[in-house]
């Protein structure tokens, strides 16, 4: 047994209103730079829908993740090590920028410099890739809220096998939002695909990161990740991915996406697992068994045996305590209401989802029946096969059993709490009908509905004695760093890195002390808007003007 700790997340999809706040704050924090315009570490997809990049879930096309060979061993779907090296000169499975979208900005100068005219001046879109005028034909959320879904959502790879039924009932179709970040998998296929060995899993907390100094831009990780959550920065020539906001996690605060989530639907906590059993669990024969196999890898920190072993493995005591209190562990292991996204990719993802009951509730309510009665809801879950099958395609490799169980639990909780809220006695039989007791059902309700900040996020800090030296912490003296808003000798991105905190500090100082309008300066092509006050144009926001334009 080799016990390791993993920082994990659960998202309660019933609560997601699709406001994209998580995406926007994440982008501001991490990918507001040249070269990462199209990069969304966090994105929110409308389902049924194509996702981002388009149809990324169709692994027959993209060949991400792992497959089980006939001898029971796992291999990368896109081919083993030799094939990867043989195709290194031109990656055959790399999504092109059109599969994401061509990022653009607007020619705002036309508006600002326009003389007084009888018609409104128009700011034309300009491509951030070629710098030329372009027509906007797609973006990260083109099919948001089922926009154009007759055309687009019908191509959702997850509708395979049930597309007729969904199309047939399109007027009353179900819809929900799926926020996605990197899954920080236990068996990451991006890391396995990286020829340079630049992608690594941190042994302390399992966060999967790209070493920017070791990455050589072979782009195999982009193809290897079945979730398409590794992106290629086309300016620096390096791969970038969601970092689980490790500089925040290290000091015990939640990721930016979780912190700013309006619906408060994200939960962050630790999971203890047996690293020796990961490969075995990822190699079970039947796709439908993968969900339970992954659950079986997790260890219960409340078991004194496990706690002792964890301590022996060097996991600090406060981490073991945090694992006991982890909301993520409770949702995955105790209540069994959270499910992994696409276990069939066999990467053992660690961002799990509570599937939404609301499509079912909506249907029951629309028919005029009591949508908080467990009988009605149970019957509806049975009857509404299409949403359940669709959810099963997302979360359990198509096995409707676990999805049914979760939805029944959520439905039971609904009617159980209705009784209590109306002043009645809690009806134990409702909880028993889904294999729970009244107390744990109430606890589950508290965790799902009214959990406070410290209940939703149980994040042990990285060790206090290391705090000063932690990466990107602003505890360093900013005077120690040079801050020159120039590009390095070898173009954008070369040379030593300046921590973001220091860069912000310098920019603020520059603006406060300068007599002129100054924008947010930028080294290496980064457009830093973190403390831009709208005066002047941040350096790098617009491309350099050519001489003839001036």
């Amino acid at each position: 047994m080799k016990i390791m700790a993993q920082m994990a997340m659960v998202m309660n999809l019933d609560k997601c209103i699709g406001c994209h706040t998580c995406s926007v704050t994440c982008k501001q924090a991490w990918t507001n730079r040249a070269g990462t315009e199209y990069v969304w570490f966090n994105n929110v997809e409308t389902r049924p829908g194509l996702g981002y990049p388009r149809t990324y879930e169709d692994q027959e096309t993209w060949e991400g993740g792992w497959v089980r060979k006939s001898n029971g061993r796992l291999t990368l779907k896109a081919g083993g090590r030799w094939k990867k090296l043989a195709t290194i000169f031109s990656n055959p499975k790399l999504p092109s920028i059109e599969d994401y979208y061509e990022p653009w900005t607007y020619d705002y100068a036309t508006l600002l410099n326009s003389p007084s005219t009888s018609t409104f001046p128009v700011a034309k879109p300009k491509s951030l890739i070629s710098g030329k005028q372009m027509n906007i034909t797609w973006s990260a959320n083109w099919d948001d809220d089922l926009g154009g879904s007759r055309e687009h959502a019908a191509k959702d790879p997850m509708l395979k096998g049930i597309e007729d039924k969904v199309k047939f009932e399109f007027e009353q179709t179900f819809m929900f939002y799926l926020p996605r970040i990197c899954e920080h998998c236990l068996n990451p296929s991006c890391a396995a695909s990286c020829p340079s060995g630049a992608i690594y899993k941190r042994s302390e907390d399992g966060i999967v990161l790209v070493d920017q100094d070791k990455c050589r831009g072979w782009r195999m990780c982009v193809s290897g990740c079945p979730y398409k959550k590794v992106y290629f920065n086309h300016k620096t020539g390096k791969a970038e991915k969601c970092t689980f906001c490790y500089p925040r996690i290290e000091v015990g605060i939640p990721t930016v996406c979780a912190e700013t989530c309006v619906g408060r639907l994200r939960y962050i906590g630790l999971m203890l697992y047996d690293a020796d059993r990961v490969l075995e669990a990822a190699s079970v024969e039947n796709d439908h068994d993968l969900y339970e196999a992954q659950r079986s890898v997790f260890l219960d920190p409340n078991d004194p045996e496990v706690a002792r072993e964890a301590e022996r493995a060097g996991i600090p005591l406060d981490w073991i305590e945090a694992a006991k209190k982890s909301p993520v562990r409770r949702l995955i292991q105790d209540y069994k209401v959270a499910l992994p996204l696409h276990p069939e990719y066999r990467t053992m993802p660690m961002v799990w989802y509570i599937p939404p009951l609301s499509p079912v509730v909506d249907v029951v309510r629309d028919t005029g029946h009591d949508a908080e009665d467990k009988g009605n809801l149970f019957a509806a879950i049975e009857a509404l096969r299409i949403p359940v099958e669709y959810l099963a395609n997302l979360f359990t490799a198509g096995d409707v059993g676990p999805v049914n169980d979760v939805l029944r639990k959520l439905a039971a909780m609904r009617s159980f709490m209705r009784d209590i809220n109306l002043g009645g006695d809690p009806d134990e039989s409702i909880a028993e009908a889904v294999g729970m007791d009244a107390e744990s059902m109430y606890e589950m309700f508290r965790l799902l509905a009214i959990a406070k900040y410290e209940d939703r996020y149980v994040i042990p800090t990285a060790h206090v004695e290391q705090a000063h030296g932690l990466e990107e912490l602003a505890t360093e003296c900013p005077v120690d760093f040079d801050y020159e808003p120039t590009t390095g000798v070898f173009g954008e991105g070369s040379g030593d890195l300046t921590p973001v905190a220091v860069e912000n500090f310098r920019m603020l100082e520059e603006r406060q002390q300068s007599d002129q309008l100054v924008g947010g300066g930028s080294k290496r092509g980064r457009v830093n808007l973190l403390n831009w006050d709208g005066k002047g144009a941040p350096r790098g926001l617009f491309p350099h003007r050519k001489k003839q334009d001036q």
Binding site: S90, S130, E204, R216, G217, W218, G237, F490
Partner: protein, 249 residues
């Protein structure tokens, strides 16, 4: 003059090559990348890049055989000059044509595809010029000497293994004999000089990615684990701790 060209100049270039790489690796790991442009365009790249790179592997292999293995060795195992010559010419022509075709596709792509062209730095353009020059000269030497018999005598084509190869090996022994190169055909002379200049340019271009060829991928475990404070000398943060502030083990 010949001492400068065939002794001093190669050593300067090799010194820049070695020190330059050390310096670049020390100070610009973040800039050390292939700078791939596949995201912008992959239809032309899918043909051009493998043709060019695989061809180039053949070319490099041919140069290793031709320059590093002395003729006495191949004679010793009974490979006649004629047999060697034809293997070299045929192998060289195949790889050379692959490289040329690939190069033409790649340069066409770089020039005509807008996003790719705008991602091209002045250093890239300089490098492309010299790289193409070396390749064209090498191709010319192969064709001119072996097929048109340029620089050859008495029905034999020019045998670079008696002059150029010897001189090349002598550079690494530390005693290059400049007189070996003075009578070599002009095309060979130019090819060697431009190649050495390309070596000097190498560490400052994207060519550094050659030294990142991920051969370790074959043997390393699929999943890499790292702890936060593993990297030597860097302590737990992104910078090395100040002297006297290292962590107590």
């Amino acid at each position: 003059m010949s001492t400068f060209l065939w002794v001093i100049f190669p050593y300067i270039c090799l010194a820049v090559f070695v020190v330059g790489h050390w310096w670049r690796y020390r100070y610009d790991k973040f800039g050390w990348t292939t700078r791939s442009s596949q995201l912008y365009e992959s239809r032309l790249l899918r043909w051009g890049s493998p043709l060019f790179h695989f061809g180039l592997l053949g070319v490099v292999g041919g140069h290793i055989i031709g320059l590093l293995i002395p003729q006495t060795w191949t004679d010793a195992v009974g490979i006649s000059e004629t047999a060697y010559h034809w293997v070299a010419v045929i192998g060289g022509m195949i790889s050379g044509i692959m490289v040329m075709v690939g190069l033409v596709i790649l340069i066409y792509r770089r020039r005509t595809v807008g996003p790719v062209f705008s991602a091209t730095t002045p250093m890239d353009k300089t490098m492309y010029f010299f790289l193409a020059l070396v390749i064209v000269l090498g191709m010319w030497n192969t064709i001119a000497s072996s097929i048109f018999g340029l620089g050859g005598s008495e029905g034999h084509s020019f045998n670079y293994r008696e002059s150029v190869s010897v001189w090349f090996r002598q550079i690494f022994y530390g005693q290059p004999d400049a007189s070996l190169m003075t009578d070599v055909p002009f095309g060979f002379q130019l090819h060697a000089l431009v190649a050495f200049f390309l070596f000097a340019l190498w560490p400052f271009t994207r060519l550094v990615h050659v030294f990142s060829a991920p051969v370790g991928y074959i043997t390393r475990p699929y999943i890499v684990y790292r702890t936060k404070d593993e990297r030597e000398g860097t302590g737990v943060g992104s910078r090395a701790p100040g002297r006297g502030w290292e962590r107590v083990q």
